[in-house]
């Protein structure tokens, strides 16, 4: 009897909780754009990959540089690494592409290797192509230079 009561109480409480949270999040913007769960909104067109070969500023010093060209069908696997056919040390003279940074030739103990380090082999783990898609949400990232500037201003 006691157990059954407890069970009913629990389910009632959780029901209240679910309904309240549902109403609370109704006005939150989602990628579904308010479409009901059982309905599908038309998908947005696939954005074009930027292919202008213009270097972009890095948002912070350690940011892996983004790829300013298309990489469709570039193979990076056991057999070959297409990226390195231009960006490796011995290929840059002919390709005139930027060489991958020297850190990519180091193992984790800082020893230099002749070839790219296996832990850096999969370029796309850090480097990504950019598209011309409009950002879905506003970016509020503040670069450290701007942070320092505002701080200097407030100090003066």
């Amino acid at each position: 009897m006691n157990k059954a009561m407890q069970y009913i109480c629990n389910s009632f409480l959780s029901l209240i909780l679910v309904t309240t949270t549902a109403t609370a999040f109704d006005d939150v913007a989602t990628l579904r754009k308010g479409k009901a769960l059982d309905q599908q909104s038309p998908s947005s067109p696939i954005a074009n990959v930027m292919n202008n070969d213009i270097k972009r500023a890095r948002n912070y010093p350690m940011q892996p540089p983004v790829i300013p060209h298309k990489t469709r069908n570039y193979e990076v696997n056991l057999n070959t690494n297409k990226c390195m056919s231009c960006h490796s040390r011995k290929r840059t003279e002919e390709s005139q592409a930027p060489m991958v940074s020297v850190t990519h030739y180091m193992d984790r103990d800082g020893n230099f290797l002749a070839e790219i380090s296996p832990r850096r082999y999969f370029c796309n783990q850090c480097h990504a192509t950019q598209t011309d898609a409009k950002p879905l949400v506003e970016n509020t990232f503040i670069d450290m230079h701007r942070l320092m500037k505002t701080k200097q201003k407030s100090d003066n």
């Binding site: 469709r72 069908n73 193979e75 290929r91």
Partner: protein, 195 residues
């Protein structure tokens, strides 16, 4: 043996005793059309993608890989089929390639690449065959569609225009030098020039 050849030659040498000249001329003409037409029809039948992928070696390996590339699916719906790139279009070259292909029939019968593992083991050799062929004929099969004279460099990306207007224009490089693996996955590229 010598006697048989001699009898055969004597028969051919003798004028026809039973058939009229008209029958021989017209009959020969009609048979010529049938044989020649038949030969070419059969040749063209082996020159289709349907024929190529009727072997699982082709369908499961190279054809599957090609499906993801731009030569299979693209915005304008123009696509290349196997013989567009792998068989020369000019008649004499085509016959020469078809005669070489008799070796592929041998490979099929004896199962040279009848499993995925065997195919992968042979992949570099097979790819190199094609690279050598395309290098030797100045990427003729690419140029059947991609005509250098009509390339609009302004419509290309900066990097592409730069490469095409220098190395390709001067004949220093040919398509396959840079576009290896354009329609199929690459083999182990160790030791390949430019990699």
């Amino acid at each position: 043996m010598k006697k048989i050849i001699s009898i055969g030659w004597q028969t051919l040498k003798k004028p026809s005793a039973y058939f009229s000249l008209g029958f021989l001329v017209i009959g020969g003409f009609i048979m010529g059309i049938i044989f020649w037409g038949g030969f070419n029809t059969a040749l063209e039948a082996t020159n289709t993608e349907q024929f190529c992928i009727s072997c699982h070696e082709m369908e499961d390996n190279v054809y599957e890989e090609m499906k993801t590339t731009i030569h299979f699916s693209n915005r304008s719906g123009v696509r290349a089929t196997c013989p567009d790139c792998h068989v020369p279009h000019k008649w004499t070259d085509k016959i020469a390639r078809k005669m070489q292909a008799s070796k592929e029939v041998w490979g099929k019968i004896f199962g040279t690449i009848n499993t995925r593992e065997k195919f992968l083991a042979h992949r570099k050799r097979l790819a190199q065959n094609e690279w050598t062929r395309l290098k030797a004929n100045d990427s003729l099969e690419c140029r059947n569609c991609h005509n250098f004279d009509y390339m609009d460099f302004t419509a290309q990306s900066g990097r592409a225009a730069q490469q095409h207007s220098t190395s390709l224009a001067s004949g220093d490089k040919t398509c396959i030098d840079c576009h290896k693996g354009i329609a199929h996955q690459l083999p182990d590229m160790k030791g390949v020039e430019g990699w």
